[in-house]
């Protein structure tokens, strides 16, 4: 047993040392080069590994996924657009697409909105560091962990029996004698799952937005106040425009996290009860139903949905750089 472990560790350290050795050798060669060659070599050496890894890790798999999406389940028969017509013609997948759309619209907006409100409110409190840490805390919990916590919150037992779910018990205390079986109540269950995402991500939105608000130069706010702006007008016409780019970054970040959403659905419902989303359905098709074609088609759809968001983010970044 120990011999086995030491061999494994030996291999690991050997590999790391070898990797460093190769790097050092390359840097040595780059340093030794002179004249016109040196600049090109430096570009190649510094950019090369990144481009190579991008090719191996992202570009080639992406091309292969697109290719596989045109074939049947074990990639032996060409189907053309067959998997895509399946995706758009199947009522289960309609629900999946609708849910995904609902998630990317509702969850990021609520997260950012709530984060902004909390940033404004908490900034005025004494001991704000404590409140901020508390609100930020769920961010440190993985989605699976958070889902397990909320699973207990939404747990259902017959009203005549002792309750184990917090939400049902609160409803009973408040006099609602027949609370529904939360996780089965469609379409409410989709929003109940979104609450988990919002609970986890709001802390992130709050901290980033709070920092942005604090970074607004004092003289601008002062000038606005001297001009008679107060309260809502100050917030709407000064604060919001000043932190606009931060809001967009937060919004798109949460949106991309939402598109990749997988853990919450897998842990809470396994995609049942009308709560399935794209990333989870893709995994099911690939690894439980072993249908590479359909999984590939869903992955391509997901990819197409992420592209505009990323493109928008890059465009915003460029624009900001242009201003500077």
């Amino acid at each position: 047993m120990w011999a086995d472990t030491s061999v494994k560790f030996g291999n690991m350290f050997g590999a790391v040392a070898g990797f460093l050795g190769v790097l050092l050798l390359l840097f040595y060669l780059a340093g030794a080069a002179r004249g016109r060659l040196s600049r090109r070599l430096a570009i190649l050496l510094l950019l090369g590994p990144a481009i190579l890894l991008l090719l191996v890790g992202i570009v080639i798999p992406a091309i292969r996924t697109i290719y596989l999406s045109l074939f049947n389940e074990d990639s032996t028969k060409f189907l053309g657009a067959g998997n895509y017509t399946w995706a758009f013609g199947n009522s289960d997948i309609h629900q999946v697409l609708l849910n995904t759309l609902l998630w990317i619209v509702v969850a990021p907006l609520l997260t950012t909105g709530l984060g902004l409100v909390l940033a404004l409110l908490v900034d005025r409190l004494r001991g704000q560091a404590i409140y901020k840490s508390l609100i930020f805390m769920p961010m440190a919990i993985s989605f699976v962990g958070a889902s397990i916590i909320w699973k207990f919150v939404y747990a259902y037992r017959d009203p005549s029996q002792p309750q184990i779910g917090l939400l049902s018990q609160i409803c009973l205390w408040l006099g609602w004698h027949h609370p529904p079986n939360w996780i089965l109540s469609h379409p409410l269950n989709n929003f109940l799952l979104m609450i988990i995402m919002i609970w986890v991500q709001t802390g992130f939105a709050m901290v980033v937005l709070s920092a942005a608000i604090k970074a607004i130069p004092e003289d601008i706010t002062e000038a606005a106040v001297l001009d008679g702006a107060q309260g809502w007008r100050l917030f709407r016409n000064v604060t919001i425009p000043m932190i606009r780019s931060t809001i967009i970054v937060v919004l798109t970040t949460v949106m991309i996290t939402t598109l990749k959403l997988f853990d919450i659905i897998r842990t809470m419902t396994g995609g049942n009860f009308g709560t399935q989303v794209l990333a989870n359905e893709m995994y099911n098709q690939a690894f439980t139903e072993f249908n590479n074609g359909r999984a590939g088609a869903l992955a391509v759809l997901l990819f197409l949905a992420v592209v505009p968001l990323v493109a928008y983010n890059v465009a915003m970044l460029r624009k900001e750089r242009g201003i500077r």
Binding site: G21, V22, L25, L184, T269, N272, F273, T288, F290
Partner: protein, 455 residues
């Protein structure tokens, strides 16, 4: 950037060269060709029974399975003697992600020597890759100790590939003997008695007769597939059951619709379920692990679940004919079907024909090994008819072994494990979950599954 001095540069180059040498030195793989001994050693003493497997000392066989600790510990102890006598080391790896990992490893050229596969459907898929090796003659010969149907489940398109290993019995109903005795209920031996008893319990008004839960994470729905399978097998027999698996008999066939309607009147009956949890739909939100607990508090009377449910009872629960919990065999819906038994099991498939791998394969297919495993820990049954039934210490194991080795029983493997993955671990689970969660009609449930069947 700060330029290093000349001597510094030289030192760096030397270090890099040394590191490269180290890397090259590490790339040789461990394990390999120590097994080319010219003469087979003679094993003596208590090692003598392992003579047939001798001659491969110093070799390692890798094994991959879904069995995790503590069950895997008992497994490793069961072949410890074999390993120390023959010198064949079995390197066991268990993963709870086995079903998705195995295809990745096999198609990626990193197949284990042996894999313990719990679904014949997955075995068929592995055979399709062309990487599964046919078993040695001795393993095939050892098959005579099993009912022929077991061999067919280890075969793909008529060719035998994988020997069965463990077995579990699904056709059980868990109940509380104490509660039954207190209320004066008799254990039913026919389907009509079972239904009459359910009705009697429901009318007594004290508790619901049945509880159930089909929640199981991403596998949610599987216990419901068992209920329908039990009824199909117990009402229409093995032939219809087999045709149903291969989709010659569709889900929308009158016989399957009728079987689903039997389940509809049983586990979908608002007057009969779901004791301690709520209405019918709560079956979908209750995990199968939780489903039986209301029996202990008297909130429900019976739960249909497999023999492995024994592990779910809380510590301190005595399982036995006069204990807190016991199980009876689910009666056949149609009394003319001889003892329908639905079960599951595991199969050992090989991806290498090295002699030491075949030695392990041969050993695992014997009743001697099964006996060795049974002695390690309870909760494990073999359908090998060569195993002495008196060595089982656990009452549920005894009960399961009795039915699993009964030559007159109509044994069939869990149908959803045999259907194509897109149905058996996909659409059927989804649709049956919707059947319970959203009170979807039997007709729509069946039609949805048929529509999803791969062309």
């Amino acid at each position: 950037m700060h330029r290093p001095t000349l001597s510094g540069r030289r030192a760096v180059a030397v270090g890099a060269a040394a590191a490269l040498t180290l890397l090259a030195g590490c790339s040789n793989s461990s394990g390999g060709n120590g097994g080319t001994a010219s003469a087979t050693p003679t094993l003596t003493g208590d090692c003598a029974p392992f003579q047939a497997y001798a001659g491969h000392s110093g070799t390692t066989v890798t094994m991959f399975a879904s069995i995790l600790s503590p069950e895997s510990d008992a497994l490793e102890r069961s072949w410890a003697k074999f390993s120390s006598c023959t010198g064949i080391k079995i390197s066991y790896v268990g993963s709870n992600d086995f079903e998705s990992q195995l295809p990745v490893r096999v198609t990626g050229g990193n197949a284990p020597d042996l894999a313990i596969i719990p679904q014949p459907g997955l075995l068929a898929q592995m055979v399709k890759t062309g990487k599964v090796v046919k078993p040695p003659a001795q393993t095939v010969a050892n098959e005579s100790k099993w009912a022929p149907i077991w061999k067919s489940y280890g075969s793909v398109d008529g060719t035998f590939y994988a020997a069965p290993m463990s077995a579990n019995m699904k056709s059980l109903v868990w109940y509380s003997p104490k509660a039954f005795a207190a209320a004066g209920y008799q254990v039913p031996t026919t389907w009509a008695d079972l239904m009459a008893l359910s009705d009697k319990i429901a009318k007594s008004g004290k508790n619901k007769p049945w509880c159930g839960g089909i929640g199981s994470g991403t596998a949610t729905g599987w216990p419901a597939t068992d209920w329908v399978e039990e009824v199909v097998l117990g009402k229409y027999g093995g032939d219809v059951y087999d045709q149903w698996i291969s989709h010659q008999v569709k889900f929308s066939d009158p016989q399957i619709i009728d079987s689903m309607n039997v389940v509809q009147n049983w586990m979908h009956n608002p007057a009969w379920v779901n004791g301690g949890f709520g209405d019918v739909s709560s079956i979908a939100s209750t995990t199968f692990q939780d489903a039986g607990t209301p029996i202990l508090t008297g909130k429900c009377s019976m739960l249909q679940q497999a023999s492995f449910y024994e592990a779910q009872w809380p510590k301190g629960t005595t399982v036995g004919p006069n204990g807190d919990i016991w199980a009876f065999k689910l009666p056949a819906v149609n009394p003319s079907i001889p003892t329908p038994v639905e079960g599951g099991g595991e199969f050992v498939a090989a991806f290498s024909s090295r002699p030491e791998v075949q030695a392990v394969q041969n050993y695992l297919s014997t009743s001697e090994w099964a006996t060795s495993r049974i002695k390690q820990a309870p909760g494990w049954v073999s359908a090998n008819q060569g195993v002495d039934p008196s060595i089982y210490t656990d009452p549920i194991d005894q009960l399961s072994a009795k039915y699993l080795t009964d030559p007159s029983a109509t044994f069939r493997f869990d149908a959803s494990d045999l259907m194509v993955a897109a149905i058996g671990s996909g659409q059927e689970w989804k649709s049956f979950t919707a059947w319970f969660a959203q009170n979807q009609s039997v007709q729509k449930t069946a039609a949805d599954i048929d529509a999803a069947w791969p062309q």
